[in-house]
Amino acid sequence: MATDVPVLIAETTYQRRTPAVEALRRLSRHRSAQVGMVLLLILVLTAIFASVIAPYDPIKPLRDVKRRAAPCIHLLGCPQDQPQHIFGIDGNSRDLFSRIIFGSRLSLQIGFTTITFAIIIGGFLGAIAGFQGGWLDNTIMRVMDVLLAFPSLLLAIAIVTALGTGLINALLAIGIVSIPVYARIVRASVISTRELEFVQASRALGASPMYLLFRRILPNALTPLIVRGTLGIATAILDAAALSFLGLGAEPPRPEWGLMLGEERNSVFNAPHLVFFPGVAIMFTVLSFNLLGDGLRDALDPRLAQPGK
């Protein structure tokens, strides 16, 4: 293998590097992680500079344009006297490109908020379950099992029914559905480290339970949490788009990609660009998190690494 030589060098100079730096080095050499990071960087920059990149307002309808007009790109032979709309015009006379650009903000927010929520709640539940054990552990984990007995999107749909439709409720639903995964990760790592000698030593030195949990035990759960969290963001974005597509999530006129797809799904035959571009945007975003997640798994936890990559 071509990577043998650099690995050897890395080992000889190992003492100068912290594990985090070492992991970052491995990550930066991982091919799919490279692609994922570049895609994600583009996405984050797009989200930050959305108002600079987008030529039009994402919400206000334009005047003097034909609804659902096909894309007009000057470079591809669209007459110069017509205004350029590279992704075309949507059903409410808005510039689709601008809406998609602004949608990147929403998508990233959706991914990060739901998974942060799920990690905090799930991590808390898992830590209690693992740390306390006994009936509390049993109760919490059986509830998690039941949540996992539902296909996640369907449980989210059912929760949205109870809470009422809307973006915030959809996010809450997706967050709740994601909790069990993180609870299990944290619980497993708490249980496996709880009785180890370095924890016992810390306890013997008089460390408080909180100190033990946060400084000695939980750092061991960080790796799987980061890996699963990254992949979880991808799923959360897909699920949120699905809920919005069904009309249960974001409300018009919000530039949410799933909603944009849902609103225009009936015009797929006469204005396919209105369906094509939002879907590509979703795919692009989800792909970037999936690739990065795969790379993180291989870089942070070699035991989980898939052979042949």
Partner: protein, 358 residues
């Protein structure tokens, strides 16, 4: 083996009760007065009282849950608020479509996924491998409803007039319709589970057309199922292909494979008898886990292809605030998911005798 099956079945009981409890709790969590939520604007105080009395909402919550469990075990899923019909009837109408779609998607994703993974692993780093792995990454990132719409656009519009045209929506071509099997078999006074079961068979267009010998309809039903099944199956296909490839690569590097090759076994048998046998367990696990994705995908794809299944019913019930229907369909899908995972667990025992002994 029997003991293993029985033990697995007993373990299902708490999960089943949990599922029923969650669905029970969800409907109780609806903010505000349940009667206003259920009756909408028609909710006068008198109507509310009558409603609460009828549904036993004045009793304490434990009694309510007990009664709910009793009703469920007797197959009483309540009555749809919008249609005034038993939810069970709606289930028997809508479920066959979703099961047909899920099964076909599963068939597509497993056969294509395993073959793609196998080819990738055997021809590692070849063009076929690279394409498969890129496709696997893209496949898991696509929204299933978007793929459905794109397939509909390509096969129904771009390829219109060619032999590759595939209809983009509906279960059957207009003009075709199923004959209820209860009528065909002369079973007019069935009740209870028998009626439900016959209705279920009858509403499965594929089974119905085979039983009635209507091959034209059978072909038409299959034809309408192609695009949705491909759309639903694509994500699981990608996952299965990746899993098959990585497991096989791991296994092919092991000593016993080298031994098998060294003793002169032909490569085909090395793969089929030695390598695949050990690769099956993770693949079957993934198939079980992906059933959730298949069922969710079926729900989303039905709305794209206008198929009369659980998904379309569920979405319209949610938008119409028809809670008993939402509850009923959620329970049914959760149970299907649990059931599939039970089958997966049981198949482990078949594939790996060690598991039976644990």
């Amino acid at each position: 083996m029997l003991q293993f099956v029985v033990r697995r079945l007993i373990l299902l009981i708490p999960v089943a009760i949990g599922i029923l409890f969650v669905t029970f709790a969800i409907v109780r969590l609806i903010p505000g007065d349940p009667c206003v939520a259920m009756l909408g604007e028609r909710a006068t105080p008198q109507a509310c009282n009558a409603f609460k009395e009828r549904y036993g909402l004045n009793d304490n919550i434990a009694v309510q849950f007990g009664r709910y469990l009793m009703n469920m075990t007797q197959g009483d899923f309540g009555t749809s608020i919008r249609f005034g019909r038993p939810v069970v009837d709606l289930i028997s109408e809508r479920l066959p479509m979703t099961i047909e779609l899920t099964l076909f998607a599963m068939l597509f994703s497993t056969t294509a996924g395993i073959s793609m993974g196998l080819i990738s692993a055997l021809r590692r780093n070849s063009a076929a491998d690279v394409v498969t792995m890129i496709w696997a990454n893209i496949g898991v990132s696509m929204p299933v409803f978007w793929l459905g719409l794109m397939l509909a656009y390509i096969f129904a519009l771009v390829l219109k007039g060619t032999p590759f045209f595939i209809p983009p929506s509906g279960r059957l071509t207009a003009g075709l319709s199923i004959t209820p099997l209860a009528k065909v078999w002369g079973l007019n006074n069935l009740t209870g589970f028998g009626q439900f079961f016959v209705a279920l068979l009858s509403n499965s267009t594929l089974i119905n057309s085979v039983v009635t010998g209507n091959w034209l309809m059978f072909r038409d039903a299959l034809w309408h199922l192609i695009l949705p099944a491909v759309a639903v199956g694509t994500i699981p296909l990608a996952v299965i292909a990746r899993m098959t490839r990585s497991r096989l690569l791991e296994i092919l590097g092991q000593d016993y494979i080298r031994t098998a090759r060294a003793k002169g076994l032909v490569e085909r048998l090395v793969i089929a008898r030695h390598a695949m046998r050990n690769a099956w367990i993770p693949i079957v696990t993934i198939i079980g886990l992906e059933t959730g994705s298949l069922l969710s995908g079926a729900v989303l794809t039905e709305t794209v292809f206008a198929l009369p299944g659980v998904g379309t019913a569920l979405v319209s019930a949610i938008l119409g605030r028809d809670y008993p229907v939402v509850q009923g369909f959620t329970i049914v899908i959760a149970f299907i998911f649990v059931f599939v995972n039970l089958i997966v667990d049981l198949s482990y025992a078949y594939l790996d005798p060690r598991i039976r002994l644990d």
